[in-house]
Symmetry: C2
């Protein structure tokens, strides 16, 4: 900037004014400055700006696994929104590792982010306390901890779980397998609870063997779990995978056992990821309004960033059942 000032023969104050379009500068000088900026390839330093203004315009996004289509979509949706609001997102991939999450949070603190949107991998809110103590606005996204006093944006997972079972029951299924990912984030626990409630409500088979909780949320977990369910002495006529990715795994397992979907087995997923419309057959699933969730999260965050220590807001959105080709009435009755 100093160089630009020299080149243009003005003071740095004038350069600053021109660059920030503050006005109050004569046309002559403005042009001289602009020319110097071009010539020297000058780009104002956000670093110095942050320091001087005490504002970083940075927001952290933490997701559990960036390679996972669900989370990359989340990161993407939120980042876009943030970008449009003039903020730069710092996307952090915690890889389901609490220590990594802590490390990232420390880093974000150092980067002086103005807020954080976090889809947390942590089993408790310990990682978040440091943020609270530094008065950084947080919004918990998707995965939710009920014991923590803080902004939250998520879907009614219980309702989603319920509606999935309901759909299958209405088709005539009485024996339904459920596959869940790890349940330490309450998200999945709630989703499971929704299915339990539905099972009870409709009075269908509640054999505990029908609920399998895997250790990851990847394709192969769905595959293994699907195999397990389908090899039961009395296998289910329908499977509700609480995640689209695991549902794909189940598809594979079913194919391996020469079971046809939906003729021999009805299958449901959860999330409505893009590829859910392109599997064969297309996947019936419970959709979460991710765009809306992302927009809400950013809105809430930006709102809180204005004021100091606002009361936490909680936004609960509703899921939507998307019926496609992977579910049908059962052929055999159990």
């Amino acid at each position: 900037m100093l160089e630009v000032a020299k080149e243009a023969g003005v003071s740095i104050a004038t350069v600053s004014r021109v660059v920030n379009g503050e006005g109050g500068v004569s046309k002559t000088l403005e042009n001289r400055v602009r020319r110097a900026v071009k010539k020297l390839h000058y780009h104002p330093s956000s670093v110095a700006q942050s320091l001087a203004k005490q504002r970083s315009m940075l927001v952290g996004i933490l997701v559990p696994l960036l390679e996972h289509p669900y989370y990359s979509r989340i990161a993407s949706v939120i980042e876009r929104r943030l970008f449009d609001c003039g903020y730069q997102a710092l996307i952090c991939n915690t890889e389901e590792d609490e220590d990594r999450e802590r490390a990232y949070i420390e880093m974000l603190l150092r980067q002086r982010v103005e807020g954080i949107i976090i889809d947390s991998s942590a089993r408790n809110s310990k990682n978040l306390t440091e943020l609270h103590e530094n008065h950084i606005p947080i919004v918990l996204f998707d995965r939710v901890l009920s014991d923590v006093q803080c902004n939250q944006v998520f879907c009614d997972n219980s309702q989603g779980g319920f509606s999935g079972i309901q759909h299958l029951v209405e088709l005539g299924h009485r024996r339904i397998g459920v596959i869940a990912a790890p349940s330490y984030p309450e998200t999945l626990q709630r989703r499971i609870r929704g299915t339990r409630e539905a099972v009870e409500f409709f009075g269908i088979d509640d054999d505990p063997e029908l609920l399998v909780v895997g250790d990851t949320q990847l394709f192969d977990m769905g595959y293994e779990a699907g195999l397990h369910l389908l090899r039961l002495p009395v296998p289910p006529t329908a499977i509700f995978a609480l995640t689209d990715v695991t549902a794909i795994g189940v598809m594979h397992a079913a194919a391996e056992m020469n079971l046809r979907i939906p003729d021999d087995l009805s299958l449901m997923g959860y999330d409505d990821l893009p590829f859910a419309s392109y599997t064969v057959p297309q996947l019936t699933t419970v959709a979460q309004p991710l765009d809306q969730m992302g927009a809400t999260a950013v809105e809430v965050l930006l709102d809180q960033m204005g004021k100091q220590d606002q009361p936490p807001v909680k936004a609960v959105l509703t899921t939507k059942l998307v019926v496609r080709g992977s579910t049908a009435p059962p052929k055999r009755q159990t």
Copy 2:
């Protein structure tokens, strides 16, 4: 930091020394400082550090579409590597938009990133010149521009295209459809060229109708293109989709036309994304060593960041054919 110094009753220089573990500080004072740090929840400001040290420890990653499983994996792989090397990644989602890409580059320049790894959406190198002029090390990743003098890390796409056709030819196919994504990044052009060379080399049907170039690289493009190919007066017995995602689209199209894979149609993809092992049937595909590519890119970048204006290095890795269940000898001969 000033507050910590006061709390501990020492100078800021001492605090700085303790925080940075420089040594040369007495145990007594060190403990006093550490206690003060804890008590005040002090986190050193990277912003101020960057300014003082003239090093940001930031590296920009630009990908064309973060929601796309291929690119989220790329971002993920590179980010992890960078993180392990002590660098913070700024992941930017250009959404295949050249203007957005420019905006992000400008932002990265302002953030004073020390280097950039870019999977570019741009049709030319215009966006990169600004970086060159600011002496920011760049490495072009995956998508490559041949007319630009700069570090590049990518796979031999021509070879990959060739080997795909070769595999199908060896199975006995003579009429092979090829589906390509937009071709302004040279990547796809090269991949196509590889298939053309193979077609010529093996002397099989080179009907231009058999090559369809879509306008996106998403599922529905594969679906549409697949439909188009399969409805040809003389449809191909095999389809080589130059992207796994589009291959999934073709699967869907085939199912819609009651064609069974691989019995009625052989199908190949390209990329070997995680889900390629979980489609039904599993997808034969051309694998790119993404982990290795990411590691190489980071290595090259970090290397260049040391020196000034090194000669550009070009790393070309090789693809690998992964044969799975979606390809088989043709039943009918054309």
